[in-house]
Symmetry: C2
Subunit: 462 residues, 2 copies
């Protein structure tokens, strides 16, 4: 028998396999609904129960990839074959698998547009379709919205701390794998970053690709001066030098030898406050006031805030790990819950009341009340058809499975973020001890909830 080498797998997602990028139970429940001939129109809403630690708002992100998914999800014949052979489906008839072969998402989706500020309990997505369709798409929607929203929110905090200094995403090597780095780069840009080091993301999203030079470049030459000179020869208009490989102040003195064409220096280690001040003095003493100081190395919003409050003369922050993993709050607990169901021609409100995990029934809308200066005053979560005062945040994005929404570019989304943040009063966006933004539930919604809770408790809690 010849010795056959196993080929390494990429584990890349492909459009062909989108149907199974989900939890198994979505497929068993789908089979269950199918076998029970339950094709009721159901509505699910995606929301966050509690804001993560240190967060006072969310920047919604991830909708574009959700729309890609919902308009591309299919089950290839090979994948249907794979599912059919799983022992758990032993008692499920062939018709279900035929159904999967022809599966497309044909429902309606409402969403809060990317870049918009949202708060706990506010539905960011509302999906209405035959119950199998709404169920099957849960996992992917949650994964995408949870992650991108989490990173856009973190990035917005870091950008806020930087007080107008530019923030660049340097996080690719610390993101949760190479694809997460691309989604993170997108979300960081939405949150206000000026660019990314991730070339794939820059290419796909048409955003600035940014970079300086690594220690290895400096180490690869006989001495630091040589490495600086040679870099400048090749990148005369983009000479930002990394000066901390051996000794930061010596590095700064080597960098100034480049002269007027020097664009920037980067410091990646040590006491950034002290070093940036001393490096600034060295640059200025040579008449290089225009040379920018870039700082990097385990930065986050608190460290940046601290540096700038203490007068660190830093112009640009390269932020990695902390931003692309949202390190202090690395998961957003978004959930996706059944809120109502059309059963035998009747609309039935649905809710659960597991301990600490109660959900509100019925299709909802979020109404944002603003003052004359367009500043945000409060949000009311009400029923979809209540027509309350305020701007409705959920808008239609998919109708009968087709996109009915003009997708903004990430540049436009970045402007939406910036505009939203400009109208969120300062007490609600302080980095620490921010006030809680007022979000209430409408009387109509509370009434529906009490009614549904009573009915369901009478039936189910014996």
């Amino acid at each position: 028998m010849p010795w056959v080498m196993k080929e390494p797998k990429s584990l890349f997602l492909t459009e062909d396999s989108l149907g199974i990028v989900t939890d198994l139970y979505q497929l068993t429940m789908a089979a269950g609904y199918f076998e029970q001939k339950m094709h009721d129109i159901a509505t699910f809403e995606l929301f966050v129960r509690n804001l993560p630690k240190n967060r006072s708002y969310l920047i919604v992100a991830g909708l574009e990839q959700v729309l890609h998914y919902l308009t591309h999800i299919t089950f290839s014949p090979e994948i249907v074959q794979f599912l059919r052979r799983l022992p758990i489906f032993n008692h499920v008839g062939q018709e279900f698998f035929e159904y999967l072969k022809n599966f497309t998402f044909r429902g309606d989706v409402y969403a809060i547009p990317e870049g918009t500020i949202a708060f706990a309990d506010e539905p960011m997505l509302r999906v209405t379709a035959p119950i199998i369709e709404t169920q099957l798409v849960e996992t992917y929607l949650l994964s995408m919205i949870n992650f991108q929203t989490s990173i856009a929110t973190k990035a917005s905090r870091i950008v806020y701390a930087a007080q107008g200094c530019e923030v660049i995403d340097f996080g690719t090597r610390r993101a949760h794998g190479p694809q997460a780095s691309v989604l993170a780069a997108r979300s960081c840009f939405i949150g206000g970053c000026k660019g990314t080091s991730n070339v794939f993301a820059a290419c796909e999203l048409n955003i600035p690709a940014v970079g300086t030079v690594a220690h290895s470049w400096v180490m690869a030459f006989e001495n630091e001066q040589d490495s600086f000179r040679k870099f400048h020869e090749i990148f005369p208009d983009n000479t930002t030098l990394l000066i901390d490989t051996y000794d930061t102040l010596a590095g700064a003195r080597h960098a100034v030898m480049i002269g007027k064409k020097l664009k920037g220096v980067r410091i990646d280690s040590g006491n950034l406050l002290e070093l940036s001040k001393e490096v600034r003095r060295i640059l200025d003493s040579e008449g290089l006031q225009h040379v920018k100081i870039v700082a990097s190395g385990d930065l986050n919003e608190d460290r940046i805030d601290d540096l700038l409050r203490n007068g660190a003369p830093i112009d640009s922050f390269g932020v990695g790990t902390e931003m692309v993993t949202s390190k202090d709050a690395p998961a957003l607990g978004g959930v996706y819950k059944l809120v109502e169901q059309e059963h035998n021609g009747k609309i039935v409100p649905r809710m659960k009341f597991s301990e600490d995990k109660l959900t509100y029934p019925c299709k909802k809308q979020v109404y944002r009340i603003i003052d004359k200066a367009d500043n945000f005053v409060k949000d009311v979560i009400g029923l979809e058809d209540e027509n309350l005062q305020g701007m409705p945040l959920l808008i239609p994005v998919i109708k009968n499975g087709k996109i009915c929404y003009n997708l903004p570019t990430v540049h436009e989304i970045q402007r939406i973020t910036s505009n939203n943040l400009a109208h969120l009063p300062q007490p609600f966006k302080r980095l620490k001890e921010a006030e809680t933004y007022p979000v209430t539930k409408s009387q109509g919604l509370e009434a529906k909830r009490h009614e549904a809770e009573k009915t369901l408790k009478d039936i189910n809690v014996i």
Copy 2:
């Protein structure tokens, strides 16, 4: 002008674009080396400077995807065109872009096999190739090894806490996007999980797909009893019911109506210790001693340890967020450093000594010293050619750009993990306050370091 809808982007990685899934500076440095005609053979090593919070060892993971990358990285003509147009490359000649069009990785790679235990400072990968090739691949290698190693390590801690009860990965919805969920499922299995809810991962890796049912199933029927009965009709051999939608104890009483064929019940909220005990009593009182209790809901190694120490009668743990994001330590700080370079026929040791970020020069090997019972005693990081006592951990995996290593399956890797952990003495794997495993540097390596440090300081620190 007709109104054209922008198509939503998936942002999926593809083999065609692997060349640019990297930081921009890798490409500018590559251009720099090329323009300087610097084609020295360089060696880089990938290692972790400090173990993350609460970690006393690492389970190496991610090598298979690294090997896929290194044997598939190319630059398509479209991508070369994109790069050529970036302003930063204005002064770079056409030859470099022709070079990229023909780029393949042709170097040698040594690696610590997946599933092996490693510690801080130990090279997990060693890459030797012309310097451009070693440089270009840095970011992807770091991203893949950092993430998978981080998750495999976290999973191994959770499995250890579960004391033989099974642990299942339920984390897809909270991973950092859908691709991260697949890589996480792989790493969780390597770390000792019995299965995953992620169907794509199960299909690709041939590992068990596991799942129960969600609250939405229960909510979609008129009452809980109905939902249980109907699930059992379709999945008679796999009836594990979720009992906490309305009231856990009422749910348990509804579940026992299924009778002897009931396989399990899942509790996803509330006080798991008290509820599991009461649910066990309800099951046992109906003669359903064989019915398993599955617990889920924000579990981690500490909560599982606490539950089991207090006698919670739980058989299986579904773990999500905490495991797939390694929530208490969501980033592994792996770095990739130039350690030596062949320049004009001479081997030159390379190192940096940035504050707190000193690196050791020269090609290294990790020697693991074991006792007669195969238990791990200590590791020595030495020079590649020192031939020290102990088992060398780094083995050749790529030679001249071709894989020279018989890739194990994830099942085999899981056994390697389990075998490694069995031989790591208990004080080094306690969940809290574990002892620090002894890792020393060889005299030969220390001598090389002193020599290189002196030479480089004389040249660079003025």
